[in-house]
């Protein structure tokens, strides 16, 4: 295997104390950036970019990529502990991670998330090592119709996900699409739904919306319920971490499925956010106990995390093999490449093998370093939940407002934040699901763009979505996901009913874990 010997050369390049130190620094900075809401991996990496101007390209890329891994891990931490996703791609982790932490199992939730994330990332790197060039060529087969099909599939695998009434889910999705429409329409070049407010030209930042809908709204509900986090009971023992690690093989099916989804979405490149949502939706769909999702189901943590990180890692493949960025962070790194004097593109493998394989080797090592470092922070983070809510609550509010300001240095975003906080609170009170809104808000814009590009290409004919085997397969899968609930009900109506009756008493029990005595 030629690739393997090149990889060994890569390891030889990076295995110096200097580079290991850079890795640790990169991961720790990344974790900090990931934990602070609003900063995010792309911003963190571009903040660090000026520091790398004087470094050699190999050290520079190690620093930046390790920061990326750290940020991906850090983003999950706040999702689980406070229901505030640090990164768009860790929104899906809140669905089960936060309930599990509230049930007093913060250590377990964090460990599950970090371990599956680490495994996902490693799987992504192995794929890059073995299949780099052939997989990259596959990515080239994707055009706008295929992109739309992928988003369509992501929406469909998520529909029926919430336990609320279908009409409420629909309302939530439509609102999300409307928010995604605000700003400039890249197909016509015109402004939409800005109401003459200059601050809306850039569109509504997803991070601002999420911090309001999840973070502040959650704090409002907690305050109403009497200023208490159930996490206070949680005890932190190193043994819990080890026990959770031993429990991980039980979720092998979810892990493998999520890793495949993640790798696929990273290459195409639909990105880690779509991957994590889709993975969570499909895990629920195929689960024997879908009713446990949203209440702290381990599979609901493992799936989005593994998919998120395998997608995040795979997203670097199009950058290396084709010279096109697979994610926002990869775009920043490519900008860095040019400033260091390298030309990103397919020839990078040939002209600078030391750089490419040094980077790949650093992905292996960097992720191991990251997992060890984040696991060692679990007791620290989990103990934050033992701080009384009256103290931690205001701190979270301050952190959120700072984070919102960091997104675009705009005070207008504070008002948006409050608007979304109220909306999130209303949604909770009226039992509307928030997740569909978030999903359509983050993917709606790109789905619309892909759809309209397809329409321009096909001169307005919908048959473009069934024009070749690839797009037909993806659309077919999407339709299948859409009708699956109906289908399975028609086929096994009696069995379904019987199961429903059997589960009813169980399902109603954890529904009110928050009611105080």
């Amino acid at each position: 295997m030629n690739n393997l010997s090149l990889l060994m050369d890569g390891f030889a390049t990076i295995l110096t104390w200097n580079h290991l130190l850079i890795m640790v620094i990169g991961v720790m900075l990344g974790m900090l950036v990931g934990v602070l809401p609003g900063l995010g991996a792309p911003n963190g990496v571009s903040l660090l970019l000026p520091l790398t101007f004087t470094m050699d390209p190999v050290s520079a890329i190690i620093l930046l990529s390790c920061m990326y891994w750290g940020a991906l891990f850090g983003g999950s931490t706040t999702s689980i502990l406070f229901n505030i996703p640090g990164e768009p791609s860790s929104v899906a982790t809140t669905f089960d991670g936060y309930p599990m932490a509230r049930n007093g199992e913060a250590t377990r939730a964090l460990t599950l998330a970090f371990m599956s994330a680490g495994l996902g990332a490693l799987a992504g790197v192995v794929m890059i090592t073995l299949l780099a060039s052939s997989v990259a060529q596959f990515g080239l087969r994707f055009s706008s119709p295929e992109y739309f099909a992928v988003y369509f599939l992501a929406f469909c695998s998520f529909i029926g996900m919430s336990s609320s009434a279908p009409s409420k889910t629909l309302v939530s999705m439509m609102l999300g699409l409307a928010f995604a429409t605000v700003g400039m329409d890249s197909v016509s070049g015109g402004l939409r739904l800005t109401f003459g407010i200059p601050d809306l030209v850039k569109g509504i930042s997803f991070l601002v919306a999420v911090m309001g809908l999840f973070g502040i709204a959650e704090l409002m509900v907690t305050t109403e319920e009497g200023l208490s986090f159930n996490g206070i009971k949680s005890r932190i023992r190193v043994r819990d971490i080890l026990r959770t690690m031993a429990e991980l093989p039980r979720y092998w099916a979810s892990l493998i499925r999520s890793i495949l989804i993640g790798i696929w979405m990273g290459i195409t490149p639909a990105g880690p956010t779509a991957a994590s949502f889709m993975s969570h939706g499909i895990a629920k769909r195929f689960s024997r106990h879908p009713e446990r999702f949203g209440k702290g189901e381990p599979n609901g943590i493992v799936s989005p995390e593994a998919a998120d990180h395998s997608a995040g890692t795979s997203a670097l493949l199009p950058m290396l093999a084709l010279g096109v960025p697979g994610s926002a962070t990869a775009a920043v790194m490519m900008g860095g490449l040019m400033i260091w004097g390298l030309t990103p593109g397919p020839m990078l493998f040939i002209t600078r093998p030391d750089f490419v394989w040094g980077l790949v080797a650093s992905m292996y090592l960097g992720n191991v370093v990251a997992v060890i470092l984040v696991l060692s922070t679990v007791p620290l983070y989990a103990s934050i939940l033992r701080v009384p809510f009256a103290i931690i609550g205001p701190v979270i509010v301050a952190v959120i407002f700072t984070g919102v300001y960091q997104v675009a240095n705009s005070t207008f975003d504070f008002w948006l934040l409050l608007f979304f906080a109220l909306l999130g609170y209303l949604f909770k009170k009226l039992d509307y699901p928030v997740a569909p809104l978030v999903l359509t808000m983050v993917l709606g814009h790109r789905a619309e763009e892909a759809f309209r590009q397809s329409m321009v290409m096909s001169d307005g004919s919908l048959t473009v979505f069934w024009s070749n085997s690839l797009v037909t397969t993806i659309m077919g899968l999407g339709v299948l996901m859409l009708v699956w609930p109906l289908f399975s009900r028609m086929l096994g109506l009696r069995g379904w009913r019987r199961r429903l009756h059997r589960q009813k008493p169980q399902a109603s029990k954890p529904a009110t874990p928050d009611s105080r005595p």
């Binding site: 030209v201 775009a331 040019m338 400033i339 030309t343 321009v456």
Partner: protein, 337 residues
């Protein structure tokens, strides 16, 4: 004992005026930044404008051309409108140096923007980016002539991918249509790199990317250039793919496409009411940047023409450029009413 202050307000006034006069005259002599300068980048991270701004930043840092530090903030929302609105709303702030292209004055032409082109004043143009016609590496066209002939035989069928809508790329495609009589279909994508992937994957027939956007893929033979929109051929350089280099690409005008020049300036702006001393300071600073070997290296590597314009020259250039593009906008009916 004094009950009142040792110095009465009456006595203080001339003293205060004196110090005020001192600071005013001091700043009139030479304006110097006294706190970090923000580089507002009107594109997302990794875009052409972003590389431009960060290269300037790295050169200033390396040669210590400025004492204060630099903060780069990417505001690429709304095709860059986010960044222009951001600096336009800060009226006279000399600490917001904005990096862009000719979209500063093109965006308000086509859309109802919450800023006017006059809300910002040009500081300098530092380089000109070239445009080329690119086709897939496996395409049969041996020359731009072949390509145009093929397009004429299939009116409305051949597709051009480009970055954004009603921006530089689509304007150029309309100009090609006007010059040749061919009829293309323009598909807007979100940035040059997506337009490139679509071309490399064979989903569209051509794009008009800048040299740097397609360099890596030309090296691999995935795409190939047909002609360049400049009056003369580009300077000779090292071969890129199969003995052909940038200098071997024919000009489009020699291929029968009557557009002698189409370029995009890399521009730097300040809010309209920023003090003149600050403008002069940044002009000097950027001039020094443009004279470094690193700048030469950047323009060579990205195949741009280094051209430093300020003052009247720059105003003239902007007027001419806006005039050319405005004609296309009127023809196509893209103007914002």
């Amino acid at each position: 004992m004094y009950k009142r202050n040792p110095l009465s307000a009456h006595q203080l006034k001339p003293l205060a005026l004196f110090f005020a006069a001192l600071t005013v005259s001091g700043s009139a002599l030479a304006w110097q930044p006294e706190r970090p300068v923000e580089f507002v980048v009107t594109s997302g991270a990794g875009g052409g404008t972003d590389t431009f701004a960060r290269t300037v930043q790295s050169i200033i840092g390396k040669h210590k051309l400025m004492d204060e530090s630099i903060i780069v903030s990417n505001k690429g929302g709304g095709s860059g409108a986010e960044g222009y609105v951001y600096s336009a709303s800060s009226k006279d702030d000399p600490y917001k140096l904005t990096f862009g292209t000719n979209n500063e004055y093109l965006l308000p032409e086509v859309g109802e923007m919450p800023y006017a082109a006059e809300d910002l004043q040009p500081v300098a143009a530092m380089a000109m980016d070239e445009f080329l016609i690119w086709v897939n590496g496996d395409a049969d066209y041996a020359s731009a002539k072949d390509f145009i002939d093929a397009a004429k035989q299939n009116p409305g069928k051949m597709q051009f991918a480009g970055s954004q809508s009603k921006d530089t790329d689509q304007t150029l495609v309309s100009m090609i249509e006007e010059a040749t009589g061919a009829d293309f279909r323009y598909v807007p994508f979100n940035g040059g790199s997506q337009a490139l992937v679509q071309l490399a994957g064979g989903h569209v027939d051509a794009n008009v990317n800048n040299p740097n956007e397609n360099l890596g893929q030309w090296q691999a033979g995935m795409v190939k250039p047909l002609c360049v929109f400049s009056p003369e051929q580009l300077p000779k350089g090292e071969p890129v793919y199969e003995d052909k280099g940038w200098g071997d690409i024919p000009t489009c005008i020699s291929q029968g496409i009557d557009i002698s020049e189409y370029r995009m300036p890399r521009t730097v702006w300040l809010p309209a009411d920023a003090p003149q001393e600050a403008v002069t300071y940044y002009q000097e600073l950027l001039r020094k940047v443009s004279e470094t070997p690193e700048w030469k290296d950047y323009t060579t590597r990205t195949v741009q023409t280094s051209q430093f314009l300020t003052g009247d020259e720059l105003e003239q250039y902007i007027d001419d450029n806006a005039e050319t593009v405005r004609k296309v906008f009127e023809q196509e009916g893209w103007n914002a009413s």
